[in-house]
């Protein structure tokens, strides 16, 4: 009986050993997936912070712009008010998104608000074409230039953000990561896509 119990003992230890090794390997592998997803998520959150800084700068410039233009555009109150309103809404959306860029819908909402803001600004600048005095105002020119620079920076930062989000989403969806992604609570992240304003409708010509 001694021999048998010795064999059983050895067998038990071997099985133990193999089980241990397997458990460790699986645990490490899963940990690796988790860590990778966390890293990629942090990357897009950092990328969002880059956008946020430039957006804040943009939102700071706009009231100055409106103030400068007020004197010249006395009868265009609606346009000016539309700009301020759109700016406030975008600022609100930005601060919501900044608190958690990964939460579904937040960045999308911001993108919508930004599109609207760009639209109102477009109308504002189109309008100011008709006021050469305003165009020539040095403050206006400087603000316009800073605004353009800032918008270029936003666009560039958006590109980096979208790259990072795409990488994260892809990693989240591939097999076998997708099994664990849900378990760990990694949600799909939104891209920051600003749509070009719909082309203005051609003026209708009637031949009555």
């Amino acid at each position: 009986m001694d021999l048998v119990s010795e064999i059983i003992m050895t067998g038990l230890l071997t099985v133990l050993g193999i089980m241990l090794v397997l458990v460790i390997l699986v645990a490490l592998w899963v940990m690796g997936i988790y860590n990778r997803l966390v890293t990629l998520r942090n990357r897009f959150k950092n990328a969002f912070a880059q956008i946020d800084v430039q957006l804040k700068r943009r939102y700071d410039l706009i009231p100055n712009l409106v103030e400068t233009a007020k004197g010249y555009l006395k009868h265009e109150r609606e346009t000016l008010e539309a700009v301020i309103q759109a700016r406030n809404q975008a600022a609100q959306a930005a601060s919501t998104a900044a608190s958690d860029p990964g939460s579904p819908g937040a960045v999308q909402a911001l993108a919508g608000a930004e599109t609207a803001l760009t639209g109102t600004l477009g109308r504002f600048f189109a309008l100011s074409e008709a006021y050469p005095d305003l165009k020539a105002n040095s403050n206006m020119m400087q603000l316009n230039e800073e605004l353009t620079s800032t918008e270029n920076k936003v666009s560039f930062a958006r590109q980096a953000f979208n790259d990072a989000v795409t990488t994260f989403n892809t990693q989240r969806e591939v097999f076998p990561n997708n099994i664990f992604a849900g378990m760990f609570g990694f949600k799909e992240a939104d891209l920051f896509e600003v749509k070009d304003e719909a082309v203005k409708e051609a003026p209708k010509v009637s031949f009555d």
Binding site: I24, A27, L28, N42, Q50, Q54, A157, A160
Partner: protein, 651 residues
């Protein structure tokens, strides 16, 4: 002791660490083996069967194997995970990256202090993270100066004065410059392995059934106990290795800022704060040795502490300390007044007027020569002083606001770098810009055009610092954006036949610091332990430097001989190359190969270059900056050379 000697000393501590760790592993294996063997003996005796002897070679084999596997894997994986980017450690601790254009006054002040320090030490600006914690603490992480990051708690940001914050930052920079970070990463990695035993123990306990004869939960308990023992050994190793480094960093920091009151002030405030330096975070234990002050309460008393006691640290700087700490409560206020550096007006050589005029004088005499001792260059490496700090403050204040702002975001930083590398000839640079419009974007070219006039008017001494400040922003590029950037960068350098050596060096600096961030695989380092296979490359660099600023063949030859003198016997045999043979392509290869040599060898090469440039006893601004740029490209940061009276260093 200079930068390089510190690095060597850190390596020595590293060896001690590995030995201690090895001893700990042996001890743990012995404990595990004995426990299992004893249990088995007890169990079989209970059964009434012939008792197994305590000595069981087969069991020993399995225990050693299993143990080594667990600890080995745990350590290796952790080291691989932590290697390179210090940002990973910062994020592990819950840190948030600070944006350089932050509107928060406390963060702005922090960034200003770190920028000054980076320029003063000649290293790239590190990424800065903030940990949300009311205690006062800070850390530096990353495997080498170009991948370093700095982390600071909100308590540290708000409760310390600007000078005290500067002292803490100087302490962290000293860790970076003294080579402690690599040591720390190795430490974290090795200890992770030992802790792994405890983790497995816990898993086994939780997931296995408790049948009577089932040895698994018993094993689990054993492993848990072992894990505890492992933790004990871990803390002991950490404290043995890291305490001396802390005293050293304190001393280096005081040497840097020449402001002992600021350092003792910071330490006293920590002592006076109820939470001290305690970090509330799950991962604080792993990283405890990285912090400025003790991040954990130690139940085992100060023997196991990673940091020397506060009172001792203060007394080493101020022997008069009476042991009383002021009472501090957390109140986040940073006034705008505190933003600007407080230049010490009590001492004559530190008056703001003096510094301003020194910088102004330097600007007016662009090609001016200053008397210079080449040995100074390498000795100063890694040992910046108060003069360099004040120089850095003045430089930043003089820097055009738009240029400074450009270094703070990735788009602006790109534009700045391209603007710096554009051809000096108007026709050619117009063509370059047209090509860039296609290769990158019209928006970027617009930004380059805006910055270009300011870049052209820049003080030559501000160029390398500007690149160093821009690097963290460039690290924020997405991988595809970085690919576009680096191919455009290379194109810009190659397309301009007139490009000068300095601009080329700037490109190499960028390549060095950004490549390690964007490429997951680290290139071969320390592949060469002797300069002999690298002699042709040394010859090339020294020849290139010998031709700078000299047209007279005798002077060139003289400079070359001065440079190769440092290479000993082999140096004497080297022959000067013609200027035509020192092309950028060859330079590229030379630098890439030399970067695979050990730090000591690279120091030797930089030393030779310094002697080449200073062969006639004088050096121009341009030559000095060129030397600094090449040194930076070779991973040997040299602080800026500052004209004017300097206090003799005390070491």
């Amino acid at each position: 002791m200079d930068f390089f000697e510190h690095q060597e000393q850190a390596k020595g501590s590293s060896t001690r660490l590995v030995i201690l760790f090895g001893l700990a592993v042996v001890a743990l294996t012995a404990i595990l083996y004995l426990s299992i063997a004893a249990t088995l003996v007890y169990v079989t005796r209970e059964e009434g069967e012939a008792a197994l002897s305590l000595w069981n070679p087969e069991l020993l084999f399995w225990v050693v194997l299993g143990n080594s596997l667990v600890i080995g894997c745990g350590s290796l994986l952790k080291i691989l995970e932590l290697r390179g980017d210090g940002g990973k450690i910062a994020q592990m601790l819950g840190g948030r990256l600070v944006h350089p254009e932050t509107k928060d006054p406390a963060e702005q002040r922090l960034m200003n202090v770190v920028e000054e320090m980076a320029i003063a030490s000649g290293v790239t600006m590190p990424e800065v993270y903030v940990l949300k914690d009311r205690s006062i603490n800070a850390f530096a992480a990353g495997s080498n100066p170009s991948e370093a990051v700095i982390g600071v708690t909100t308590g540290c940001m708000h409760l310390l004065s600007r000078d005290e914050l500067q002292a803490v930052m100087a302490h962290e920079f000293s860790h970076i410059l003294n080579g402690d970070m690599r040591l720390n990463i190795r430490l974290m990695g090795l200890l992770n392995g030992i802790l792994g035993l405890a983790i497995i123990g816990r898993i086994l306990l939780e997931f296995t059934s408790r049948e009577e004869k089932n040895p698994l939960p018993l094993l689990g308990v054993l492993l848990l106990i072992l894990g505890g023992a492992g933790l004990f050994f871990g803390k002991w190793i950490k404290s043995a290795v890291s305490r001396q480094r802390e005293y050293l960093a304190d001393a280096s920091a005081v040497q840097f800022t020449r402001n002992p009151e600021a350092m003792t002030g910071a330490l006293k405030k920590i002592g006076g704060l109820a939470s001290g330096g305690r970090i509330q975070h799950a991962h604080a234990e792993e990283a405890s040795h990285l912090f400025f002050e003790n991040g954990l309460t130690s139940r085992l008393g100060s023997i196991m502490s990673t940091h020397p006691p506060l009172a001792d640290r203060i007394r080493r700087i101020d022997p008069q300390f009476d042991g009383n700490f002021p009472q501090i409560t957390f109140e986040p206020t940073v006034s705008v007044v505190d933003q600007e550096p407080q230049l010490d007006l009590t001492q004559e050589s530190h008056s703001p007027d003096f510094m301003q005029s020194a910088v102004m004088a330097g600007m007016m005499m662009g090609g001016s020569r200053m008397a210079w001792n080449p040995d100074q260059a390498v000795q100063a490496a890694g040992k910046p002083g108060q003069v360099q700090l004040q120089y850095a403050e003045a430089l930043i204040q003089k820097l055009d606001l738009d240029l400074h702002a450009a270094t703070h975001d990735p788009f602006g930083a790109q534009a700045l770098v391209f603007a710096m590398l554009l051809s000096k000839e108007t026709d050619w640079h117009t063509q370059q810009l047209e090509a860039l419009e296609q290769q990158s974007s019209p928006e970027l070219v617009r930004e380059i055009k805006l910055l270009h006039p300011k870049v052209a008017a820049m003080d030559p001494r501000a160029k390398l610092p500007a690149v160093d400040l821009a690097i963290p922003s460039l690290k924020q590029l997405s991988p595809s954006q970085f690919n576009t950037f680096s191919s455009n960068l290379r194109w810009l350098v190659e397309s301009d036949q007139q490009i000068d050596l300095f601009e080329y060096a700037l490109q190499k600096v960028l390549e060095r610091h950004l490549k390690s961030h964007f490429e997951e695989t680290s290139s071969a380092t320390d592949a060469y332990h002797s300069l002999i296979p690298l002699l042709p490359h040394c010859r090339l660099l020294i020849s290139g430097f010998a031709h700078i600023g000299h047209t007279d063949p005798a002077a060139i030859s003289h400079a070359f001989q001065h440079g190769t003198a440092g290479l000993g016997e082999h140096g004497k045999k080297l022959q000067l190359l013609d200027n035509a043979d020192c092309g950028l392509g060859e330079m590229d290869q030379a630098i890439d190969h030399l970067n695979q040599a050990t730090l000591t060898l690279r120091k030797k090469v930089v030393d030779c270059l310094a002697h080449t440039v200073g062969a006639d006893g004088e050096v121009t601004l341009q030559e000095a900056e060129l030397l600094r740029a090449f040194a930076d490209a070779l991973g040997c940061p040299i602080p800026p050379f500052v004209n004017g009276p300097q206090k003799p260093s005390n070491t």
